[in-house]
């Protein structure tokens, strides 16, 4: 190994972001306690924007002795991840705990590091890189979840996520070791060769794959590895929840798509049923369990469980079209999910955060703008045309249908109908229930985020052409 084969330029966005994180950390810690938080956030936002530019400009290729790869798929996912992180950062700007204190400056740094991890996941070409990226991302989120140390729910969320996350990491590692044991390599390219050479697939390899998938599915909060989601979503500070519902999911999906269609692509007929099962479980459970919820953050937890199920449909299709559909679905999900969390962050009464569904009563009269935005997001989540969610759903359904997964499509449609109930209930509460006490005037940053995401949801169709072209390119890069 020499300096030349390292090919630094490929990882330049990650390196830049990581260095920026270190700089901001030093800057922040040198301030007096409670000062410089705003500066840290602004610097982080700048770092994100710069990093996004670097990602867009980064060339294709492999680096670090084949453990790191950059292609259009990685770029697509990194942009999604960066956008997700950026939105979460914007939400932290105005966020205050119930003691009127802002989140500490480490929030920005942790989100930043977590995003670095997520980007590494998107670029992994080796099971080791996968694990390192995943852990960097996860460890940061464990801390983020427990940021409000004095809040019981928040501490509980952090602890639960940490314990269960460790369990998942263990499963993942065990799966990786099994794969390594049976294939003799951890590099994706090596795995492809090893699997193609074997005539009879060893059971151990399959078991390893299942463990690997399970580990990743934990991060995606796919049923039955979803149990942490409602508690953690509810307990974590809202901007952190917004982050958790976005960037790490995209990165994990990037991993899953890359691993399943790359190294294990040849085994597709074997794992299709597995993904299909997980998809069905998530869609149905997400739709059902959300119905009795009264807390909007918990509701969104089940909503994200359901959405991951739909996104998995594209993977279950095991085709280029399927991958493309999943990518478009994730893009749509990013937009509407960020919008919903912006609205939830704006839900405050007399300075205190309120998250009960009943607190939205009559919002249509007391704050028509915010209510309209939330209504748009809810309709989009349902999948009503011509909003963003509709196109995502349409594409994954179409991809699954083309692959002959009719049962999956049927159950997906059914659970969409059930899901519509609880999404539309939010709209009903806002517009038809007796007005609750007014919410506080939302901060400008939140108005900006919810407004821009609302416009993006409504006019998603305008960007659909280029987006689909990019997604197609990314999917082709993956399929090879």
């Amino acid at each position: 190994m020499n300096a030349m084969s390292v090919n630094w330029i490929l990882a330049l966005p990650e390196i830049t972001l990581a260095l920026a994180g270190l700089v901001i950390l030093v800057f922040g810690v040198l301030q007096r306690p409670g000062k410089g938080i705003g500066a840290c956030t602004v610097l982080s936002i700048a770092a994100f924007v710069g990093c996004a530019v670097l990602v867009a400009l980064s060339p294709d290729g492999a680096a670090y002795a084949g453990t790191f790869v950059n292609d259009s798929f990685a770029r697509f996912m990194k942009i999604l991840v960066l956008l997700g992180g950026l939105v979460a950062l914007l939400l932290t700007v105005s966020y205050r705990t119930d003691e009127r204190a802002p989140l500490p400056f480490e929030t920005a740094v942790l989100i930043l590091f977590s995003t670095v991890g997520a980007m590494i996941m998107a670029s992994s070409a080796n099971l080791m890189t996968l694990f390192v990226g995943l852990e960097l991302s996860s460890l940061s989120i464990y801390i983020l979840a427990a940021l409000e140390r004095d809040d019981v729910l928040s501490s509980e969320a952090g602890l639960k996520y940490f314990v269960l996350g460790s369990l998942a990491s263990g499963l993942l590692l065990y799966g990786m070791s099994l794969v390594y044991g049976y294939a003799g390599t951890m590099e994706y390219s090596g795995l492809i060769a090893a699997i193609q050479q074997t005539t009879a697939l060893p059971v151990g390899l399959m078991v390893g794959l299942v463990f690997l998938v399970v580990g990743l599915c934990f991060k995606l909060s796919v049923v039955p590895f979803h149990m942490w989601t409602p508690d953690v979503y509810q307990g974590a500070p809202t901007p952190v929840t917004a982050y958790m519902a976005g960037a790490p999911k995209f990165a994990t999906f990037a991993l899953l798509l890359r691993v399943m269609s790359g190294p294990f692509g040849a085994m597709a007929p074997r794992w299709q049923i597995l993904i299909e099962t997980l998809s069905i479980l998530s869609m149905v459970y997400g739709a059902l369990a959300a119905i009795p919820q009264t807390n909007i953050k918990r509701l969104m937890a089940y909503s994200s469980i359901g959405h991951m199920g739909y996104a998995l449909m594209g993977l279950a299709a095991a085709s280029t079209n399927g991958v493309r559909a999943t990518l478009v679905y994730l893009a749509a999900y990013l937009v509407m999910n960020a919008g919903v969390f912006a609205v939830i962050t704006a839900m405050r009464r007399k300075g205190r955060e309120v998250t009960s569904l009943a607190d939205l009563s009559g919002l249509g009269r007391t704050d028509p703008g915010l209510a309209a935005a939330l209504a748009v997001f809810m309709f989009s989540m349902v999948g009503a045309p011509p909003l963003a969610g509709f196109f995502g759903k349409l594409m994954v359904f179409a991809a699954a249908w083309q692959s002959g997964l009719y049962v999956l499509v049927g159950i997906g449609a059914l659970s969409s109908v059930i899901g519509a109930y609880y999404y539309l209930r939010v709209v009903k509460v806002m517009y038809f229930d007796a007005s609750a006490e007014r919410l506080d005037q939302p901060a400008r940053s939140l108005v900006f985020v919810s407004g821009s995401m609302g416009l993006a949801t409504v006019f998603f169709v305008l960007a659909l052409g280029p987006l689909m072209a990019l997604a197609r390119q990314a999917a082709l890069a993956l399929g090879g």
Partner: protein
Amino acid sequence: MQTDLHLFAAAILLPLAGAVVAGLGGRLMGDTLAKAVTLLCMGAATVCGIGALWGGWTSGFGPYAVPLADWVNAGGFHATWTLRFDTLSVTMSAMVLCVSLLVHCYSVGYMSHETMPVYRFFAYLSLFTFAMLMLVSSSDLIQLFFGWEGVGLASYLLIGYWYDRPAATAAAIKAFVVNRVADLFFIVGIGLIYVLFHSVRYDEIFAAVPQAAGAFYTLFGHSFPMLEVICFLLFIGAMGKSAQLFLHTWLPDAMEGPTPVSALIHAATMVTAGVFLMARMSPLLEVAPNTRLFIIFIGATTCFFAATVGMVQPDIKRTIAYSTCSQLGYMFAAVGVGAYQVAIFHLTTHAFFKALLFLGAGSVIHAMHDEQNMFRMGGLWKKLPLTYGVMWIGSLALAGVFPFAGYWSKDAILNALWAADGRMSHYAWMLGVITAFLTAFYSWRLLFLVFHRAPADVQKRDAAHESPLFMSVPLVLLAIGAVVSGLVLAPYYIGAQQSAFWQGSIFNAPGNTIMETFEQVPGVVALLPSLVALVGIALAFLFYIASPGLPEALARSCGPVYRFLLNKWYFDELYEHIFVKPYAAIARFLWKDGEEGAVEGLPRDLVRATASGAVDAVRLQTGSIALYAFTMLAGLVVVLTVALCG
């Protein structure tokens, strides 16, 4: 010429304007203004209509087309809203407008005791007039059907005008439903016409009749001449609207509406729409001889049936309603022998005297404070001299006594039936003569019971008073019509000048010479109807003046016959058992088991299952981290099994 067409269009559109203004603005403008608006519109429309008639009279009836608007333009189907200006439509319009104006005027007096606002009533009346005018002035079958349904709607609204009376709403529904049954046949007939001729325009259909004469229609393995089938279907439509036997049951019940409505809709105009349709479709009927036989049969039988039932009814309005039904039967019998002009002539004279009778009856009812049972009246002739007089005139016209209007038209029909010289027409002639006798009998029964017999309630009799001016003026005008219309119109409608008058708007096939020959009947035959009418009057005098105990004794001695007649030949009971009850049972089944059980129940149960499933699903979420971890591992096992065995 152009002026006439404009007048004609105005005559047809003005009632619509009145209906819209009074109907939509009535609540704001109040009753008085609404009445004034509708009366004014009707007056103007009548002037226009008579102007158009005069114009046509002096400078020819065309036929001309008055295009108003495009209507349907879909694919190969094109329908416009075009008025047809020919003798038939213009004379019918003028008749409708005259009667309608008088009824409007009469209603101002008649409805003055209402506690509720009555602008709705006048709006409906005007709406009805517009729909009727649309019907008669149509230039294609789609327009005709629009008017046809429009009058049905207005009839429904007016029968059920007193919506707080259960009987009225039930009658309204009955009228609507029975008419729908007939309309189904009608619209299928229109459909077949479109299939055969690829057009619904009269001009195009009539021009193409000769080419279509050989077409056949195959159903269930049998072939029928297409035109026969079409005419048959159209006639069933006409039967419903004109209350012919089997589809007549709605008409007596329709008397639940206010009396002016009965006069306008259920005597003078709407119920004659079936006869009008037959006359309008004369070019088709001329090539459907078998259907015409059927028409004669139904017409004659209805004529007789209704008269027998009319003899024993205690209700003054129902008696006149059965009389209407009976007279319509005459008209259809005339249509059946090809004497369409005669049918239209009787239609026109009948409009005058039947409206007169109804309005007279209304005047009696008004005076007796909504009492309709004739047996509770009596001795009114001194209190209501004007009404008494016009009722006499109307009855004389109805019975066909020279020189009143009915004499000219009814005798012409009976002569035509005789002259047609067929087995069916002789059957019809026989029934027609018997009916003439019965008609005279029940008419004078009515007169004697209401005006002469000892009053059942003297106080009520003494409290009765003659109607106000608004009501008496129409009565007088209609009475004049009932006296002179036959004499004046006979030469043009059926006499020597008929073919010059109709100018081809009613078609007689070259072989159909009935219009030339119907006068040439033996003297006995021509005199017989008048003779039996006089006998009928005498018998009524005997029964109800000379020996008042006789009817009761007769009713007792011929109990079954009496009950059979009183119960209107048990048609209602029959239909109740054949149609209404099974239908209600099916409907109940569909409602209770189909709708509430399956259609509503299935989603309801699904929702319940979903909701309870949701609660169960959340029950897993206990918050215990150990359980969470266990679930993960259990899930792992499941997933592993699926992956390895799936």
